[in-house]
C-alpha cells in the first residue's frame, strides 16, 4: 500500500504547508518569528465553528469569517505589539518573546471561554464522500486541502513576483529602511502582511480542524512546532521552500509511521531537522549568505 501512504503523505504535507505559508510570510517580511501563529490558527478554527453553530453559516461562510476574524486579530497584534517594537528597533528576540505572551493570552482566553474539552464541527458540513482513483482514496477535505495549499502558494508566488505590491514586499524583505527611502509605504505593507498571514493561519485552522475533527485550545501548539521545522527546512521566509519543506516533513512522517512505528513519528521529524541543519546550516532550500567583515 505504498501508493496510499504517498497520498496520505501528500495531504499531511499540504496541511503543514497551509500553516507554514502565513508563518513564513511574517518571517520573510517582518523578520519576526511569530510564536502566536499557532494560537491564531486555533482561533480561526473556533471562529468558524461558532459561525456554523451560532449563525448557521455554510462552509464557505465559515471559511470567510475565519479569514476575516483572524486577519483582524493579526492586524490588532501587529498594531498593539509588533509596531511599537519595530518603532524602537528592538532586537529580533524581543518580538518573539512578545508573541509568546500573545499566544498565552489567546490560548488561555479561548480555554476560559469555551473550556478545555474538544469541540467538533457540525456533521455534514463537508461531504464525507471520498474520491477513489485506481484504488487510492482521498476524502473531500483532503482534496480541498491539497488544492487550496497549492493554489494559495501559486497566488502568493505570482503576487510576489509579478505585481507592484509584491515587488514592494520583496524590497522590504531585503531592507525596510531602503524600501522606505524609495517611497514605499512600509508600515502599510507590514499591516497588510500581518492581516494576510493571520487570515491564512485562520483558514488553515478551519481546514485542519475539519481534517482531524477536533478543536481544542492548544491545537495550535503541535502545529507551531511542525511549522518551525517546516520553515527551517525550506529556508526561512521562502514561500516555495515552505511548501517543499512541508511536503518533505509530511513524507518523512508518514513513511516513518509506516516503516518504523507511530511512536517515533515526531522523533523522525525533529531528528531530521537537527541533522539537516548540521549538514546544511540554512535549511534544505535556503541559500547561505556569507558574512562580510
Amino acid at each position: 500500500m505504498l501508493e496510499q501512504q504517498l497520498v496520505n503523505a501528500l495531504s499531511l504535507g499540504c496541511v503543514y504547508a497551509l500553516f507554514a505559508l502565513g508563518f513564513t510570510l511574517i518571517f520573510g517580511v517582518l523578520g519576526v518569528i511569530n510564536l502566536s501563529h499557532g494560537a491564531v490558527f486555533m482561533v480561526g478554527a473556533y471562529a468558524a465553528e461558532q459561525a456554523v453553530t451560532r449563525l448557521g453559516f455554510p462552509l464557505w461562510g465559515a471559511l470567510l469569517s475565519a479569514f476575516l476574524f483572524c486577519g483582524a486579530l493579526g492586524l490588532l497584534i501587529d498594531f498593539l505589539v509588533l509596531r511599537p517594537l519595530r518603532a524602537r528597533n528592538a532586537p529580533h528576540l524581543i518580538p518573539m518573546i512578545a508573541t509568546i505572551g500573545v499566544a498565552i493570552i489567546l490560548n488561555n482566553g479561548v480555554q476560559g471561554i469555551f473550556g478545555a474539552e474538544n469541540l467538533r464541527f457540525a456533521p455534514g458540513l463537508v461531504s464525507d464522500e471520498s474520491l477513489s482513483l485506481g484504488g487510492l482514496h482521498l476524502t473531500a477535505i483532503e482534496l480541498g486541502i491539497i488544492l487550496l495549499s497549492f493554489a494559495l502558494m501559486a497566488v502568493l508566488l505570482l503576487a510576489l513576483k509579478k505585481t507592484q505590491l509584491g515587488r514592494a514586499l520583496r524590497a522590504i524583505a531585503e531592507s525596510p529602511k531602503a524600501a522606505y527611502l524609495l517611497g514605499i509605504n512600509v508600515e502599510g505593507l507590514f499591516y497588510l502582511t500581518s492581516f494576510a498571514a493571520a487570515g491564512l493561519g485562520g483558514l488553515a485552522g478551519v481546514l485542519i480542524g475539519l481534517y482531524s475533527n477536533a478543536l481544542f485550545p492548544l491545537m495550535g501548539q503541535p502545529m507551531l512546532h511542525k511549522g518551525i521545522a517546516v520553515i527551517i527546512l525550506g529556508g526561512m521566509g521562502d514561500i516555495r521552500g515552505a511548501l517543499l519543506g512541508a511536503l518533505f516533513l509530511g513524507f518523512a512522517e508518514v513513511l516513518s509511521v509506516a516503516y518504523i512505528g507511530s511512536s517515533m513519528r515526531d522523533a523522525v521529524a525533529f531528528g531530521l531537522l537537527f541533522l539537516i541543519l548540521l549538514v546544511r546550516p540554512k535549511g534544505l532550500f535556503g541559500t547561505l549568505q556569507e558574512r562580510k567583515v
Binding site: A267, F270, L277
Partner: protein
C-alpha cells in the same frame, strides 16, 4: 518562628521551585552571554532529572552522587552535540537546539523500560532540602559573578558583541562557545536533578518545547545585562500564576498580558534601571 513554620509548610515547594527556576534562567543566561541562543535547556534539565532520579531510585545512590550525575550526563551530551551544532548561529542555532530538545523528549517518552514512558517516574525520594537549593543558587551566582570579571567572561562578551572581531583578536571562539554550552547544560541538569527530588514525580512532557520557551522568557524578561536579571525573571514568572489565583480561569490570560506589557515597556528586562532613572530625573526636573 511559628509564623515561619506555617509559611514554610504551605509555601516551601513554591520557594524551592523558585530556586530551581532561577538556576534554569541562569543556565540560559550563560549561553546568551556568549551570544548563543540555545533552547535545549529544558532537554538538559530533563536529562539531569532522569539520570539523578534513576540513580536514587534504582541504585540507592547517595544524593550528592545523584546530583553529580545529573550535572555530568547533560554536560557530556552537550559536549558531544556541541561540535557540529555550535557552528550554527542565530535563529538556526536556536532551531537546531530546539529540535534536539524535542528528540530528547520523545526519546524519554519511548524508552519505556527505563523511563516509564508517558507515565514518568513516580515516587522519587524527596531528598532536596531548602538549603540544598539555596547553596546551589549561591554557588552558581558566585561562580558566574567571578566568571563575568575573568578573562573567560570578557571573551564571552567579546564573542557576543562580534564573533568575527573576537576571533581576529585571538580569542578561541569555538572553545569558549563550547565552554558556555557545556556549563549551561550542567547547570540546567543540576536544576533538573534538584527539582526531580522535590516533586516526587517527573514525566517527559515537563521537558518539552513549552518549558524551553518558559526558561528563555524568564531570562529575557529579567534582562540578561547582569546576574540579577535572570533571577528576578524566574521570581516573577514563578510567582505570577500564584498571585493571580483570584482571576481563576483567566489567570494565565492576565499572565500573558503582563508578559507583553513588560516586553513593550521594559525592553532590556526588568533589572534594567536606566528607564526608571530617566523617568525619575524627568520628574525631578519638572518639579
Amino acid at each position: 518562628m511559628e509564623w515561619f513554620d506555617n509559611f514554610w509548610s504551605v509555601y516551601s515547594n513554591l520557594v524551592l521551585t523558585l530556586g530551581t527556576n532561577a538556576l534554569l534562567a541562569l543556565s540560559i543566561y550563560l549561553t546568551l552571554s556568549c551570544g548563543m541562543l540555545v533552547i535545549a535547556n529544558a532537554a538538559f534539565m530533563g536529562l539531569g532529572a532522569y539520570s539523578a532520579a534513576l540513580l536514587t531510585m534504582n541504585y540507592d545512590a547517595p544524593f550528592p552522587l545523584a546530583l553529580a550525575a545529573g550535572m555530568t550526563v547533560p554536560a557530556v551530551m552537550a559536549f558531544v552535540i556541541g561540535k557540529p551544532t555550535l557552528r550554527l548561529s542565530g535563529v538556526y542555532l536556536a532551531m537546531a537546539t530546539l529540535a534536539f530538545g524535542e528528540v530528547v523528549r520523545i526519546a524519554l517518552l519511548n524508552a519505556e523500560s527505563i523511563t516509564g514512558g508517558a507515565l514518568g517516574l513516580n515516587g522519587i525520594p524527596q531528598s532536596t532540602q531548602g538549603w540544598h537549593v539555596a547553596l546551589a543558587l549561591a554557588l552558581t551566582l558566585a561562580l558566574l559573578w567571578r566568571l563575568r570579571r575573568s578573562k573567560v567572561g570578557r571573551a564571552f562578551e567579546a564573542i557576543k558583541e562580534d564573533e568575527t572581531a573576537a576571533g581576529l583578536m585571538g580569542i578561541d571562539v569555538g572553545a569558549h562557545k563550547m565552554l558556555a554550552f557545556v556549563l549551561g547544560a550542567a547547570l540546567a541538569g543540576l536544576a533538573g536533578a534538584l527539582n526531580a527530588h522535590l516533586t516526587f514525580f517527573i514525566g517527559p512532557s515537563e521537558y518539552g518545547f513549552d518549558r524551553g520557551v518558559e526558561i528563555l522568557t524568564m531570562a529575557i524578561l529579567g534582562g540578561i545585562g547582569n546576574l540579577t536579571g535572570p533571577v528576578l525573571g524566574a521570581l516573577i514568572l514563578t510567582l505570577l500564576p500564584e498571585l493571580l489565583r483570584s482571576f481563576k480561569d483567566f489567570r494565565l490570560v492576565v499572565n500573558g498580558f503582563i508578559l507583553v506589557l513588560i516586553v513593550l515597556f521594559l525592553p532590556k528586562g526588568i533589572s534594567d534601571t536606566t528607564r526608571l532613572r530617566q523617568w525619575l530625573a524627568q520628574r525631578r526636573s519638572r518639579a
